[in-house]
Symmetry: C2
Subunit: 333 residues, 2 copies
């Protein structure tokens, strides 16, 4: 799967929170976004030109991406006319929702008639994913892991890709979730893969490469997450990471949506991640800690990352506030 | 899903190895098996009366179970006539293969016409499985874990169920693989569940129960298996085991089919299993070790289990040779 770019971002009736997929795509790939299309009740604000379908062709758009993550992951009727218009205007259409574009007969017929494609990125092509071979691959890999979900694993992997490329090091972000897939243009939603195949999917995502090439694999979940840890462990084993970066939210105390569960310490996550990663790559090591400090003052954030760095002996940074140079120094050092 | 019993076991052209599902069902539920049906080239030998479809009704059979695990998990054309005859004779038909009975239009139409059901036990009803809540449940649970796949996790769980019931303790085996599901009459193939839902499936399998009731949950894979460890971790978290029994093959040195990977030690499996289990059940503890010593002499087996018992301070037994009384003593002690 390779979604043709550049793209028009469709945000429907979403607010900024629900349009987080569109925001992520725009933040990381601004040059791949020609504009935004909002429906009448939408409130999402993106710093992009608002555009109708008929205007997009002149701007070179090749696809329309549905940049919405709504509760339940459904495709409302109110979007149908816009999706059909996009197909008729020569755009492919991509979504990362639980509902599939390809399950809507009207959309499928319209796409076929116009020779266009519908991408449902949350739904991996099961037939193409194999059981992991666990064979050691060439090239290098970094995987982001975390104390919880939604602590910056995608952002950190992308920031490290950017920093490595800036330093002239060959590097590719490897997407494992819907927003990441839209940003990279390809990838596999590993949490939607049948459980026997998660490590195999991670192997497919980061194939053999040149010796000095880095894959930056987007992590998912947490080894300490009571619902999703299996996904994380399969991803760790299949990615065979040489390097691990632990992501954390400075002010979170409990697992999101699982109030009975304390957040693990960063140290616990380092220890268990390295232990399990060494099963498929004995050279695995932690190279840094990425903390979301957005709820702290600038001063408190500085104090926080310095304290973690001192306690754990690894570079610690907030990638948004301070960049990831210190982690990349350690990675290449 | 509840497969109506008793059943006729269909083994097609299988040899004894491929008919291991039928052997497992017969071993554990002899009273639920009315007979065996073999096709012309079959060589599987079961100590059951050979029977044609027309004879089964008089014996009270309510279903025909396809007791074969062939390579690729396909349903050959040569079985079609027998499956149709079974449906016409009033039997439901159940299979645990990768191919689905329900995907064969001729079989589906025949089943519908005769008001019969087709069970594909390897394919969980995705819509019914929820994300894990991680809420603490009432009742007690034991999970078998292992140094590898195929080291006796199902056998051990069933042997402990039998021993507990023999002692008057309420206990239920909870099946997580195809043979186990046929033996129990219900269950979920957790390795066929979408990865996000594995812990949720384990929760469904062992729901709230009376305080002294034991669920004996069939383990899958190994935390140290380079391809399947994610399934194991999801099962550990979702099962919330109070007790863990580690299963092992006394003569295996390498992970089956993964020659580059050394088998972990029993001690490593105990430590990582207890550590991860305590995330959702802080009371989790190891209560015993079950070893397959079938390739050792009786004397060597006795020496082996005594040595492991001494080294690790836990009851160690070969469930087939010596039973599981020592493990159950520890469990209830």
């Amino acid at each position: 799967m390779l979604i043709p770019m550049p793209a028009l971002l469709f945000v429907g009736e979403a607010n900024d929170r629900a349009a987080k997929t569109a925001h992520g795509i725009h933040y990381w790939r601004p040059n791949q976004c020609v504009g935004v299309l909002r429906l009448a009740n939408g409130s999402a604000k993106l710093p992009l030109r608002e555009m109708t379908i008929s205007e997009t062709a002149a701007c070179g758009a090749r696809s329309m991406i549905i940049g919405v993550a709504n509760t339940g992951g459904f495709i409302p009727e109110s979007w149908t006319a816009t999706i059909i218009a996009a197909l008729e205007a020569g755009l492919d259409v991509a979504a990362g929702l639980h509902d599939k574009l390809n399950d809507k007969p009207l959309l499928r017929e319209t796409a076929t008639r116009h020779g266009r494609r519908l991408f449902d990125v949350r739904h991996p092509d099961a037939a193409s994913i194999k059981i992991a071979t666990a064979r050691k691959r060439s090239g290098k890999r970094l995987l982001t892991v975390g104390t919880d979900c939604s602590v910056g694993k995608m952002y950190t992997a992308l920031a490290i890709e950017k920093e490595l490329r800036h330093r002239g090091v060959a590097a590719d972000f490897r997407a494992t979730g819907q927003t990441g897939i839209f940003i990279a243009g390809s990838g596999i939603c590993v949490d939607a893969v049948v459980s026997d195949f998660v490590a195999g999917a991670a192997e497919m995502l980061s194939p053999d490469n040149t010796p000095e090439h880095w894959d930056l694999v987007e992590g998912q979940g947490s080894l300490f997450h009571p619902a999703y840890a299996g996904v994380t462990l399969g991803l760790i084993h299949g990615s065979q990471p040489d390097a691990l970066v632990v992501c954390h939210d400075a002010t979170r105390k409990r697992i999101d949506d699982y109030e009975d569960y304390e957040l693990p310490s960063i140290k616990e996550v380092i220890e268990l991640s390295v232990l399990t990663a060494r099963r498929t790559n004995p050279a695995a090591r932690a190279v840094g800690i990425a903390v979301n400090t957005s709820k702290l003052s600038a001063h408190a954030a500085t104090v926080y990352v310095a304290a973690v760095e001192k306690e754990l002996g690894l570079p610690c940074t907030d990638p948004v506030r301070f960049g990831v140079a210190s982690i990349v120094d350690r990675l290449l050092g």
